[in-house]
Amino acid sequence: MKVANKNTTAVSLVEEALKKAEKFADYHVFNFLDNKNALKKAAEIDKRIKKGDNVGRLAGVPFAIKDNFLAPEGSTTASARILEGFVSPITATVVKKLEAEGAILVGRTNLDAFAHGSSTENSYYGPTLNSADQTRVAGGSSGGSAVAVALDIVPFTTGTDTGGSIRQPAAFNGVYGMKPTYGAVSRYGIVAMASSTDSIGFFTRTPEDMDLLMSICASQDPYDMTTLPDFYNANADDSRHFATGWEQVSEEPREDGRDEACRESSSIRVGIIKDFDNGTVHPEIRQALKDKVEQLEKKGHEIVELNMPMLKYALAVYYIVVPAEIASNLSRHDGVRYGFRSDKVKDLDDVYANTRNEGFMAENKRRIMIGNFVLSSGFYDAYYLKAQKVRTLIIEEYAKAFEKCDFILTPVAPNPPFKLGEKTGDPVAMYLEDVMSTPINLAGLPALAVPAGITKDHLPLGLQLIGPRRSDAKIIEFAKELM
């Protein structure tokens, strides 16, 4: 990505981003644009560069945040009415880290309300349109963030991935979308959805940019007790050596001095899940997977076939565990302390019930009610407890798979971007879009969505590269083999 320096000013980078944001306004990428402030911040960065200060690795780079990241710039709405007008006094750790490296926040991107959805159609502010076809969905829930990068409005955006919300819109728009290992990146200052699977990640146009963002943002945060000590940067050298193993054929010394490490490594074993290629996957996505497998074989990598029969239950587990956590996390939205409050209030009970009824979208209500169903007495053992046990079996199945391979390559979603309105009337059909992305969250694994060509109708396709916990850097490096 372009950074500001002596020749390129931060103001010019931000101006360009804002101009593009206006040009593509009809895609409804943004819930909020911070034109004036962004330009002011850019001018300050330029002043510091002129003075000879080290401004950071993202000097003057414009970026946008999914509108469920807290920061005082604009209202953090999570695209839900119930947070209308809420201006956060605090800033998410990730936003602070990016700004500390000189990046400039230009706006907030659209999402499915509270990140509940797979198309960005559940936004209170209306859907975001697909970057390649305006009659189709952007994917979701981080639809706005994916389209912002696909249209090259900004070089990177943030997202949240609870069951595919970064990877699926990345695939639908032909960009890179990273869901890090659970606990790699701080969740502090992000509107909670499901605490045991929420992951914070990014959209970029290259693996190199993704590596840079991960190295900036992955770290332990005293404000988020579920963050891991920084493994991304600690193992950085090792992982890059590991992942550059396939370059061993080159006898030429490499410019970056990595040749020695390359020579001693062997080829990479990539797992393909047989059970997933069972006819429910769109033929063009199946073909894209076959093409990439051939490409990897040509480069000397080993392809390993995996049987993972538990994965077909992952979506059912997900739509038990996650609604349960949603029901709990979203109980805080009551109209008392912040955000929207209903006008129809005679007493305190009305404040709660009417605010929540008017403030949540239908999909939010479905998930909260399902969550309360699976947690309620009489159903807890049969649904919630059982799902958490099946979750154990899914985790064990991945552990076994990673004894046989280094990475697993699968589609992100079973279908290319679908038409606006095509699935809004059928919640289960919408959920089925998450069938390949949710198991990764249940197991807390890292996965990167990588572009994998286009359909005959010119719609972007994506695949995901999945690795064991803490293999984030290796995944990003290996993604270059799929280009």
């Binding site: 605090i90 302390r337 799902a387 046990k389």
Partner: protein
């Protein structure tokens, strides 16, 4: 599994939603379909399997029991509410 109107009303009450009649009906249909889908776990035997509630590898992350300055002060937080008086959040009558 059939979801009765009473069960919908009960879930709406647990969730604190004042659903309209029409909404209760349409949510009832959706919930029934979703529950039908998630009930496919019935075919699995999980005897002897331990549940996994979280995938974070660490337990009991401790910090010193010291008061730390917070990013937002009391007045900033009160400013987010619809109504306040005497530095407290004001709500309509409880009873």
């Amino acid at each position: 599994m059939k979801i009765t109107r009473e069960e919908i009303d009960h879930l709406a009450q647990l969730s604190n939603f004042s659903l309209s009649d029409e909404e209760a009906k349409s949510l009832g249909v959706d919930l029934e379909n979703i529950i039908k889908y998630i009930s496919q776990l019935d075919e699995l035997d999980v005897k002897g399997v331990e549940p996994t509630y979280q995938v974070f590898e660490m337990e009991n992350v401790w910090r010193p029991d010291e008061i730390q300055p917070q990013e937002a002060d009391r007045e900033q937080l009160l400013a987010l509410t619809k109504e306040q008086s005497d530095h407290q959040i004001k709500v309509p009558k409880v009873l």
